[in-house]
């Protein structure tokens, strides 16, 4: 059985996606690892979330995952040689009220990895902030948006559609300060948001 103890999480995601594709199961990376890939940040997620857009039967998914050493444990797949886990959230893929129909692919040293577009990763995190006031999600959205500033207009439209047009005002203000201070990593962005939160109390 392959030992994944030294395999990076992104490489492992590509290995799993490639293996599943070879068995006619198409998956798309979503969640924290997608944030990590696009923000080029060390976010230290330990789980790979992939949506099975080919709607494979659970028994087939279990069987194919077992071939590369991953067994189902509760709702996640675990492997003895790594503490990285894999989960398959239910399809379809959606962010906020939008269904996601187009995805892209990133190239990793271990192969191709289908993944949400950066704009959808940002929307996913902003939806968590809008609905649960989850500040870490806003920090993650900012970290990706800093790397993909061309998505700002699409994000503004999303905020408006979600009834949170004022959120974009906050985002633009945070981005401007981050740019002035040269902040790009999540730790610094979190401090910036904390500073803004305390000021607004």
């Amino acid at each position: 059985m392959k030992n994944y103890s030294t395999t990076s999480i992104a490489e492992l995601a590509a290995i799993v996606a490639t293996h599943l594709r070879e068995h006619d199961i198409q998956v798309v990376l979503v969640g924290g690892l997608a944030v990590e890939l696009y923000s080029e940040n060390v976010y230290l997620t330990k789980d790979i979330d992939m949506v099975d857009i080919s709607y494979a039967k659970p028994a087939k998914l279990h069987q194919v995952m077992a071939k590369i050493g991953f067994e189902k444990s509760g709702r996640i797949f675990v492997c003895a040689s790594t503490d990285i886990t894999v989960e398959f959230p239910s399809p379809p893929i959606s962010v906020g009220d939008e269904l996601v129909t187009e995805t892209t692919t990133v190239i990793t040293p271990a192969g191709e990895l289908p993944v949400l577009f950066a704009r959808d990763v940002i929307k996913d995190r902003l939806a968590a902030y809008i609905h649960w006031r989850d500040k870490p999600s806003l920090v993650q959205a900012l970290a990706v948006l800093i790397k993909y500033p061309e998505e700002a207009d699409a994000i503004a439209a999303f905020c408006e559609a979600e009834g949170s047009a004022e959120l974009m005002v906050l985002i633009r203000s945070l981005l401007a300060t981050a740019s002035e201070r040269g902040l790009t990593n999540m730790d610094d962005l979190e401090k910036l948001l904390l500073e803004r939160t305390l000021r607004s109390l």
């Binding site: 924290g32 920090v139 109390l201």
Partner: protein, 115 residues
């Protein structure tokens, strides 16, 4: 630590008010767990604060969710006082209180390593 000792009745009152200031809403058990206080003392103080209109609550299933009462006549000075008290607390605790994950996590999903 109990910064507003002399003004507030109990340390748990201070912790409750700071929690609600930073997180907007909270359950008694979550507040107690965050600060390592007894659930009983937190519930007792929440009832007192609600009786005096400092906080308001609503029922969510079998739980009661509390928030600072925006219609409390001394809401603005209370917030200013709490903000001053907050400045004395360690940055790490303030950060943890203000920035912790609020979005749901599916049961059985591993907790992400913290940065």
């Amino acid at each position: 630590m109990f910064v507003l000792k002399g003004i507030l009745r109990a340390e748990s009152q201070e912790k409750i008010l700071l929690y609600l200031l930073l997180r907007d809403t909270g359950y008694g058990s979550a507040i107690a767990e965050f600060f390592g206080l007894s659930t009983n003392s937190v519930h007792k103080q929440l009832l007192r604060l609600e009786e005096d209109s400092v906080v308001v609550s609503r029922s969510v299933g079998r739980l009661r969710e509390y928030q600072l009462n925006p219609r409390y006549p001394f809401s603005a000075p209370l917030r200013a006082l709490l903000k001053s008290a907050l400045a004395v607390y360690p940055d790490t605790l303030v950060r943890k209180l203000a920035m912790s994950r609020q979005r749901p996590r599916k049961s059985g999903k591993p907790i992400e390593a913290s940065r």
